[in-house]
Symmetry: none
Subunit: 224 residues, 2 copies
Amino acid sequence: MKILLIEDEKKVVQSLKQGLNEHQIEVDFAYDGLSGSLLAEQNCYDVIVSDVIMPGLNGFDLLLRLRKNQIRTPVLMLTALGETDHKVQGLDAGADDYMVKPFEFKELLSRIRALARRSAEGSNVSTLSFSGMNINLTNRECTRDGVRIELTPKEFLLVEYFLRNPYRAISKAELAEKVWDITFDSNSNVVEVYINYVRNKIDKPFKKKLLHTVFGAGYILKDE
Amino acid sequence: MKILLIEDEKKVVQSLKQGLNEHQIEVDFAYDGLSGSLLAEQNCYDVIVSDVIMPGLNGFDLLLRLRKNQIRTPVLMLTALGETDHKVQGLDAGADDYMVKPFEFKELLSRIRALARRSAEGSNVSTLSFSGMNINLTNRECTRDGVRIELTPKEFLLVEYFLRNPYRAISKAELAEKVWDITFDSNSNVVEVYINYVRNKIDKPFKKKLLHTVFGAGYILKDE
DNA sequence: GAATTTCCTTAGAACTTCTTCAAAATCAGG
DNA sequence: CCTGATTTTGAAGAAGTTCTAAGGAAATTC
């Protein structure tokens, strides 16, 4: 497998390249959007990983240019903390996945593999699933047992976070940080309220509940 | 590394066990599917190696049962020559790899290692175990001999502390400090009360007691 | 073997955390 | 800048957890 990494911080590039190499993934790289897009047009990569903020051509422009040139290689966007709006923008522009920095290397690896697998299988839609429930990152649709469920943007992000972390108790602080991008202050109950919204849509109408409370520790997505 | 080997031919079990031991791999084993699945539910193995054809529960049923019980230990299926359909069936049922008998010992070894490596980097479930008792720090579940036990947050912390310090007498002062984060004042009997709660849940329903009193010195987690 | 200390057990009071509702604030599109 | 959708806040009530306090049991000491 061979990927293209576009990122202006040279230290980051070096360490990611080394880490990926150790897992049998070849890495080409570029330090700015323009050279990145040229490489992407001349080579055939399994996945492109690109920063959003870069000198010259930024991540979104890069993406638009690639798609305009009929290059449909899956793109994983890297956005810094505090730029969560970029998630939505990026996916709208046609990114297949995104990650918020700082991230765990392990997670990057598994997302790269997921994207490569999907595009190898022929389907170029990015979806996450769990026990009959699906969300489509490309068109932002959500279904459970085939039934269409409408989610608002925040609800979607929350559901997405759970689907990416099934069978793991997730604290409210973590949700506040990862989904809302705020440092959790215990006076706010946004998280609780949204858990309630999401439950009303994805659990209430169905027999099997998926989103469970772990008292004192947060919430967990699991069947059983 | 510790694996579970399920196979009804005792000679095969013995020779594989010996060979694996020589390569620093601990081996638990069972001669039929049912005992195998019980062992798998009560312990935490890196890999499970299972024959397909067995008395009672066969390899596929075993696999289905494990997955239903949220046990995602990678499974390597052994199928005899002339049963190639089993490959497909096995992989469909959720096996992670298979081998056709007869095979080279060297190959088995390398596949076991590959599975262990893959699952180690993919999932970050951390569990602590002691004598048939397990707690999973990721989903905050606790089991003993496969039986699910519900613990409140404080109980969980207490149990966790004992599992991290088995075979050591731990004073009440230490527990107060490490679990409750308070400087122990001898008028309070919280620790005693919680020891009682925990014993009711993890020891009372079982024959073998694990949490013992060391008079004048605290408590100790040990079997025997 | 009585007194003393340490440990066990229980119930419920005090406290925290979770759920839910409704209203206020914010945002986005016409 | 009006409107409807979305997000956030606040507050009340329910559910679940933690701790205190007190009486009884067990071990130890004298």
